[in-house]
């Protein structure tokens, strides 16, 4: 699936998008975040405080326990600061 990153999550990871093959055991947003956090230093830094990082599945906000099966695009980003 396609994973996209924004703001300081993007900066810490070092790129804005990537295709990721997720292993069988990765079923939820929180499990995907934990899987990504183990991919390297920048990822670990981005997901250092997993409760802070927000997610969206196919452009809709998703909670940590949301299942990721069938998702085309999952985004990770900091709390929003627009307006």
């Amino acid at each position: 699936m396609k994973i996209v990153y924004f703001a300081w999550v993007r900066e810490r990871i070092g790129h804005e998008a990537e295709e990721v093959e997720t292993p069988q055991g990765v079923r939820t947003v929180a499990e995907l975040a934990a899987f990504l956090a183990a991919r390297g230093e920048g990822y670990a830094e981005a997901f250092k405080d997993p409760k802070v990082v927000r997610a969206a599945i196919d452009r809709r906000h998703a909670r940590p326990d949301a299942p990721i099966a069938g998702a085309r695009e999952i985004a990770f980003f900091p709390p929003m600061t627009g307006g």
Binding site: F6, R59, R60, A75, P78, P79, M80, T81, G82, G83
Partner: protein, 157 residues
């Protein structure tokens, strides 16, 4: 997103003309009794030790930003008798004094227009996927989300 032409959402880098947007919302109609406008501007505030704000760079999630604001407008329409609404949010680098966001709501009476505009802004701040990067004289920082903004959104639940 536009349905009957009076509900408009735009995400753009260019500036907007507030008066023209209000006029477009109410042109040719006789059923609108109240139009409420909120404009959010880039403010030159001073953070201790880090100097004055030079610019804000607004990053957004293309596609989701429009869709999420669309969902907020739908929620506002379900709660209040709105005859129209325009939401415009800019992205890119903005300097103090520039427009960031515009919310215009139109209704037969002022109460609904005021409340819907406030609801839209409160929820836009906490759920529309935009992030502000502050550029100060000596540093660049991502703006931290404020608990007060979360509380402002929560009171509409």
């Amino acid at each position: 997103m536009t349905d009957d032409g009076r509900f408009t959402i735009r995400i753009q880098s260019e500036d907007f003309d507030t008066a023209a947007e209000i006029a477009a919302l109410s042109a040719g109609r006789t059923d609108i009794g109240a139009v409420v406008t909120f404009s959010g501007l880039c403010r030159a505030d001073d953070a201790s030790g880090e100097g004055c704000l030079v610019a804000l760079t607004l990053e957004h999630y293309p596609g989701m930003a429009e869709e999420e604001i669309g969902r907020l407008v739908e929620e506002a329409r379900a709660r209040w008798p709105l005859l129209g609404a325009t939401v415009i949010h800019r992205h890119g680098r903005l300097v103090p004094g520039e427009n960031i966001v515009l919310v215009v709501t139109a209704s037969p009476h002022r109460g609904a227009a005021f409340e819907a505009a406030e609801f839209l802004m409160d929820w836009l701040k906490t759920s529309a996927p935009f992030w502000k990067l502050e550029e100060r004289e000596t540093v660049k920082n991502w703006v931290a989300a404020k608990e007060a903004d979360d509380a402002a959104a929560e009171r509409w639940r």
